[in-house]
Symmetry: C2
Subunit: 358 residues, 2 copies
């Protein structure tokens, strides 16, 4: 079944959910342009999700997608937390921050019962999951709600795991993708920062799409490096049923990307990204900034996802007050110069032009 | 100008030169199939090159390419050499090797005056360079010989550098590519294992091709992850003028790939590659084997390229005598399952089928 039919969309172009830099305004704009707009729910409370869902219901004419994280909740480790704060000590001094004043790091809820209840009440047409899938009983009820289910795979093994659990389509997240890598398998085998130790398993979008298309019967959605019509045409040539693009939408007026993030995206710095776990403990692609440069982008002794963000928060704010993104995660994929400051509908149509070239 | 016209070939499909695993037999087979066969000269003496050139002249009906490395010759550093041998000590013990019996590591000549003289005498139609370009006076004489010049770029900066020096086309070597990464810029900025410290600058083939096509007026040749007709169609959709494929040819009867290497390529292990510098001191993509797993694939304190191979040589031989590739570099790109045990002409035609899909 083609992706358009499966998801009820006009164009097989999915706007990647991007927690922290967008709300329902972008979701609505993309859905109304014929693509699949996504709402990142990972950092929202149930009340906030409800509020966004009401906005979407009121304004979106097409289907939309709710995205959730399925990580294992963090376990607090004082040794790791203290080691991390010790690494940040010179920066605390520089900004006159008293480390004892820093609030304890906050965990983040994976997809849970409260989220399920919203899904059952609102019946969103599509749900997508990152970092695996919800536990079996929750997943069964999501399916029973009628939602189509998408999930991210970064390797063939992850894709086969997802297929065996009955998802409807797979997002093939190649190494080029911005933001958090969806890696979720094999992490338990290793102790410290397991996903960072597994980065060599990550392959480029071209390779991943080919590997998945040859082995799966499900539709494969290419993600990572999808930034213009030509890359969409390439994805289709590789056998993808559709594409997911994130960075391409970051400069849209409908995105909530900060001014500092926008400036970085529009500068030459955006060509220089790296996979880092400094911001949250999980590998994610961002523009190289001062924190990444000075500490090195990866640290295998960090607290669990997403706890490292806690100790960074006051530095991030203090630097931002000085108009500096030195401690801000500047999520960005390897696809410069894909993003432009134009409405999301225009980006969507620009990407969709590649469908005809293919 | 299209690549076919520039190079005088029928199909814009270049067989990647692969030092150590092929000789002129593969070059000839690909050239006779309408692609551009390549001869890797990096590990050959002038006499050996001469012998291969005679074979090519006698049997190749189409143009061919001679490939040379342009690295800075190694400087021997006793501290690094001893540290490397100390890391290998447990393996020497395991195989009963007396470290004092190991011959001193041998350097490798970059493109030099002797090579130039062969070029001037034989006038090969195409030369390709890896790790930058020969020094200016040599390059001028190569150009004067009438050869078309290709060179590898792994970043936009490297591509612009090559363009400014007058090459005829650029090979965009994406992160997916097997074998040595062509990285050559900025290495002098850092001391130890500079290219390993710069791996975050390396981008996927999709991204690299887009970046280069948007900025250069030269033809761009996509390399990395090119393994079947679909990936060729994708490369063309991205704007590439042609493709270069290496791994796809490794199982051909015309290749000199060892039986152990062939077995690894044909196994599931081939899906698990990593960029390693253990074998030569420079980053190169290979199938993960015991050495890479046990030492970790990258070491920033290794001797200069290609000296680490010296201390490894007796281990490699001893293991191979036991039918083990535990210490053998199993070069391979991220493109499984691209390679098949069929004649090179069939691989070339299979790749070229993607040109029509595009």
């Amino acid at each position: 079944m083609v992706l358009q039919e499966l998801l009820g969309i006009e164009l097989p172009v999915i706007q990647a959910p991007m927690a922290g830099v967008q709300d329902s305004a972008l979701t609505i704009a993309v859905s109304n342009a014929g693509g699949l707009g996504s709402l990142p729910c990972a950092m929202l409370s149930p009340d906030q999700i409800l509020c966004e869902l009401r906005a979407i219901s009121a304004h979106a004419r097409g289907p939309y997608n709710l995205n959730f994280f399925c990580h294992r909740p963090a376990s607090y480790d004082e040794v790791r937390e203290l080691a991390w704060r010790r690494r940040l000590q010179p920066y605390y001094r520089e900004f006159g921050i008293d480390p004892s004043s820093i609030a304890p790091a906050q965990g983040r809820e994976p997809f849970n019962r409260a989220a399920l209840e919203l899904v059952e009440a609102f019946r969103p047409p599509v749900l997508s999951f990152h970092f695996g899938l919800p536990e079996e009983s929750l997943l069964a009820r999501v399916k029973a709600s009628g939602a189509k289910i998408l999930a991210s795979a970064t390797t063939l093994s992850e894709a086969l795991w997802l297929e065996s659990r009955g998802v409807d389509a797979i997002i093939a997240q190649g190494l080029e993708a911005g933001g958090h890598r969806g890696m979720f398998l094999d992490a338990s085998l290793s102790g410290a920062a397991p996903f960072v130790g597994q980065l060599d398993s990550q392959v480029g979008t071209m390779t991943l799409v080919r590997q998945l298309v040859r082995r799966l019967s499900l539709p494969v959605i290419a993600a990572g490096g999808i930034a213009d019509a030509s890359s969409v045409a390439a994805a289709i040539a590789l056998g993808a049923a559709g594409v997911q693009a994130g960075t391409a939408y970051l400069l849209c007026p409908e995105a909530k990307t900060s001014a500092l993030h926008r400036a970085a995206l529009a500068s030459d710095a955006a060509a220089n990204t790296a996979i880092t776990n400094l911001f949250t403990g999980r590998p994610a692609r961002a523009i190289v900034n001062r924190l990444m440069r000075e500490l090195g982008p990866r640290d295998t002794s960090l607290p669990d996802f997403p706890l490292p963000a806690g100790a960074l928060a006051p530095l991030r704010s203090a630097a931002q007050n000085r108009q500096s993104a030195d401690f801000t995660p500047l999520w960005c994929g390897q696809n410069l110069p894909g993003c432009q400051s134009v409405p999301a509908a225009e980006i969507t149509r620009g990407l969709a032009a590649g469908l005809k070239q293919a």
